[in-house]
Amino acid sequence: MSEAETELAAPDAEIFDYPGARDRACPFAPPAGLRALNDTAPVSRGRLWDGSTPWLVTGHAAQRVILSDPRVSSNDKQPGFPYPNRAMAENAPHHPLTIFNADGADHTRIRRMMTAPFTRNRMEKLRPEIQRFTDELIDSMLAGPNPADLNAALSLPLPSLMICALLGVPYEDHEFFQEHASLATRSDKTAEQDRVAMEALGGYLAGLLQKRMEEPSDDVISDFAGRIKAGEVTLPEAVMLCMILLIAGHETSASMITLGTALLLQNPEQLALLRGTDDPKAVANAVEEILRYLTIPALGQRRIAAEDIEIEGVTIKAGEGIVVALPAGNWDPAAFPEPEKFDIAREARHHHAFAWGIHQCLGQQLARIELQVVYGTLYRRVPTLRLAVGFDELRFRRDDALAYGLHELPVAW
């Protein structure tokens, strides 16, 4: 393709400022400018916070091609990498190799060390525990003042309890773990609070790993302890693997509970359908549609081309940054007809809320179980649940947060 044509494909004046701002009247929908790209170009240029203009992949089909291409790298130490913000750009040189930024064989090695917690047997054992935590948190909310903040009452504590159960943190330590985990994963904390919480958790996990090296039991901490003994990982590495699970699974699933509830309360006929069903398959289907509709990882996947890649009539050159705009792919009419229609019965499982390719969310089956339990329980147990403030008073996070969502959700019943 000639230089002139490439220019035409991405006229400078129309470059979209990613991630963009949402319309306040329609805070569940991706920004209009981003959605418009679905009609014009599935692959175009976007402009980031630092003025750089990496490739912006918005089409659902193009996202699959890019995210499963081995020439597309997650290595965040390469010049040209499209960082989500300044803090990340400044810290990237110091990032250790983790599951997030590793490619190819390195990624496979790390990921396989982390898959044990997520096998089907372990997942199904967790379902009754997640149900119990959910019931207990709802009990405490109902026993407390009305109205309440759903975010504080349910959405934030549940994921930390869930990760406790996943790792095998003893029950008597749940309160300590939960308190520090919520602090460490909150976005409005100070750097000092963050450091203190991280150190407390790291120290605690190191102690527990050492204990399980002596007396193993049937849990994930014991698996990791076994790997330390076998010389596959060091103690600090094992602590980091646990912390990554905690952080990756916390704000994301909390946000899905809070924002998902706000979405359902704004769509009473869909909420009635969900509340009225006994069919676990229908609830599971609703979870997929809510994941699609909200696509909370609004920052998108950040990648860099290791070689030249031809796609949709453009050439992504080696060394150029790529942003895979997940919300746009999930609202692409070619993959989801009438994407603006929130329909819990639609076929939505091919969504990209957990991304796609080798980095597709490791914790997705756990997140699904958690959301199936919460969406299947909360609205049935509290049928009068409603917003305690006007919809226009809700405080939405900006799109440049790690997970899109609400700062709080005041509810009454």
């Binding site: 499963s68 044990a116 096998t119 080798i358 490791l362 089956q365």
Partner: protein, 64 residues
């Protein structure tokens, strides 16, 4: 229908099991895909195609 899985490519996302439990399972120790039957019966064909389509690592191949 003949199903082929590539254990090297598999990233243990569990999508295939969710789509077609009678055909796919995951190894207990690391979640890597286990093929329960290479030639699934016709009534499972749609589920198996669905599993191949949702596998994020393109680790499932179907030979019709």
């Amino acid at each position: 229908m003949k199903v082929v899985v590539d254990e090297e490519k598999c990233v243990a996302a569990g999508q295939c099991v969710a789509a077609a439990m009678d055909v796919f399972d995951q190894r207990d120790e690391d979640g890597i895909v286990v093929l329960l039957t290479e030639n699934p019966p016709a009534e499972l064909a749609d589920d198996v195609r669905n599993a191949a389509a949702v596998c994020p690592a393109l680790a499932i191949r179907i030979e019709e």
